[in-house]
């Protein structure tokens, strides 16, 4: 089989993996080697679905012994199979990188035999890429659940980021759709990575010569909409993993119907808005000081379609408002709907010079569409409506009568990592 056919098959099989970010690692160039890693991450292209292409995202092989019903590569699915050798992968990566097509390699794979053999195969490729070809760009590698810790630890020396996919938000879902996979087997490498990353970070603090280990941290991904789990279960799971394993990111991937199976929901299109709401909430967890139980509870188990999670929270907690722009702490500013990390920082900077009026906020670039109902400037309230839930709710809803929802969805449906980034603040605002 020609390389070009293998590439088509294996990229096609890899496309449902969401993560493509190349951020978080600062790998300096070394003489005689190719490449470096920019901590801000760089997008190199965008595909027709509007998702960014930063890394060469590809499977080493799509031969698989598993039969997970949500996955295109399941053994019972009749599709062309292929396998790339380490040398072929290295050649592709090096030549794409030299032409500035990509920021690095995201190597994943289906499971063609035992977990150990599979991990060994991936390890061989990244080792060759680093040692034989002198590749010094970004590498994101999948850790295979069930593989020996020694193999995972060895691979961690060569790569920038590793990820283990949690796949589905609950063990019940796993049992139903991927009976060969067990939650414990997925959690094990995750926790192994977490322990090692933390330990090596400590060592690096004492000695700069200590070898790096997965410097850009670990991430995970789960499919949304393939099971009956509520948003609250998903968000709580994310929160748990952020706290417990210090994950850099949890990726949510709207379930794309790839097969008909009685255990799978019958969807016409992937639940993109739901995915978007989860990302918004995920940002609130990581950068805005919110906790999962503030955003959702037993009465509201799923996010509303009409309100973003922060606005929804604000409408349920109006006693927290209005917030005085000139007095509020950074944390308080961040809780105002429509005020993000950048705006909050701008407010902090600008108010060092003088007390801010409502008009000043416009000049410094704070969007007031939603914020106006929740703030005072120098004690003055500028919202055109009284601060009561039944009055504000219809004003802040996305789907007002007469507006075209489809348009709005396409505007809002971008994944966070697609936002064009201003590298200077990107690490702070979390647009990674």
């Amino acid at each position: 089989m020609e390389i070009i056919d293998k590439l088509k098959i294996l990229a096609d099989s890899a496309k449902y993996d969401v993560s493509c970010s190349s951020s978080g690692s600062q790998r300096a160039n070394q003489p005689g080697r190719l490449g470096n890693a920019a901590s801000c991450g760089i997008c190199h292209s965008w595909s027709a679905d509007g998702r960014c292409i930063s890394l060469l995202k590809i499977l080493q092989t799509n031969y698989c012994v598993y039969n997970c019903s949500y996955c295109v590569n399941r053994v019972s699915n009749d599709l062309p199979r292929a396998m790339l050798t380490s040398d072929e992968l290295c050649d592709l990566t090096m030549n794409f990188y030299r032409r500035n097509y990509i920021e690095g390699l995201f190597l994943s794979t289906a499971i063609p035999s035992t977990p150990d053999n599979t991990m060994e195969m991936l390890l061989q490729t990244v080792r060759k890429l680093r040692q034989v070809h002198g590749f010094n760009g970004y590498i994101h590698l999948k850790a295979i659940p069930g593989a020996d810790n020694i193999l995972i630890e060895e691979a961690g020396k060569y790569v920038d980021r590793m990820s283990v996919n949690i796949e589905l938000p609950s063990s019940r879902g796993l049992q139903l759709l991927a009976p060969q996979k067990k939650k414990e087997a997925i959690i094990k490498p995750m926790s192994f990575l977490a322990t090692n990353i933390t330990a090596r970070k400590e060592e690096r603090k004492k000695s700069r010569k200590a070898p790096s280990f997965v410097p850009a941290g670990q991430t995970t991904q789960m499919i949304v909409g393939a099971t009956l789990d509520h948003d609250i279960n998903i968000l709580k799971l994310s929160e748990y993993m952020y706290n417990k394993f210090r994950l850099k990111r949890v990726y949510y991937s709207a379930y794309v119907p790839v097969t008909s199976n009685p255990n799978l929901p019958d969807l016409k299109s992937p639940p993109l808005l739901r995915e978007h709401r989860l990302y918004q909430a995920d940002w609130l967890l990581r950068f805005y000081g919110f906790s999962a139980k503030e955003l959702l509870d037993d009465n509201n188990q799923d996010f509303s379609e009409d309100y973003d999670p922060k606005t929804d929270w604000a409408l349920r907690n109006l006693d927290y408002f209005p917030v005085e722009i000139n007095r509020a702490s950074y944390e308080q500013l961040l809780r105002i709907p429509g005020v993000g990390v950048k705006s909050a920082r701008r407010i902090l900077a600008a108010r060092r010079m003088h007390a801010l009026r409502f008009e000043d906020l416009k000049t410094i670039g704070v969007t007031l569409k939603r914020a106006q109902y929740f703030i005072t400037c120098r004690g003055k309230y500028n919202g055109e409506a009284a601060m009561e839930e039944h009055i504000l709710r219809p004003r802040l809803a996305l789907s007002r009568p007469g507006t075209n929802n489809y348009e709005q969805l396409s505007l809002f449906a971008f994944l966070p990592e697609l936002v064009p980034r201003d590298e200077v603040v990107s690490t702070l605002t979390g647009e990674l």
Partner: protein, 245 residues
Amino acid sequence: MLQFVYDGSFNGLLTAIYEIYYGKMVPDQLFVRGNETQQLFARQEVIATDEVKAGKVYDAIDNKICARSLRHTYYAYLSEHPEAAMWIFQYLHLGWKIGNKLDFLLSDDRVQRIHRLSLKVARERHRLMGLLRFQLLKKNIYYAAIEPDHNVVELLAPHFAARMSDQNWVIHDVRRDLAAIYNQEEWIATRFTLQQRLELAQEEDYYRELWKQYHQAISIKSRTNPRLQRQCMPQRYWKHLVEMN
């Protein structure tokens, strides 16, 4: 009406600012030579670029305001916005009054304008770090053509010098006839036009085709969203992108 014209270089701009500041003569317009609009009753003063004067202004920004303002000034200059020169003068004039807090004064138009220009330039630089495409020529040189809105070649060069340190490369701003050229040791910026047709290395077509196929295969059909694609990757950059042609 008083017009100042300068030669378009950064030093020229700084010299002009020196003359305005010490000459106590504030012009109504400050232009790059060749870009000025002819006004019937305008008096025109041509500023001769003077490295010493420019150096003094440069140091005065760095010492009396701050390094960040210097960066904003330079980036705003690279934006090549027709009003940039005058706005920069107004920004710096304010800066020398209030010192290193200048960039906190976000509610002032003079500051905001410069920040906006500077941000545009920084964004384009970042964008092109990804969207620039090298092609391998017969003589083992990697060549990239770009047509940026702003003059960012000099801002891109250090990034690629650090990254592709074992390649010979040329980044060519086709619109401005400028290029950064790197020989595996150092890079220089120079005026540049192509003298002959590019002769591509043999394997070039092979990797281009692979990249195009990859680009198509990685897209999820049921999520197709061309509007979002254009929003993230504006169409004016497509001309030089292998995968979009």
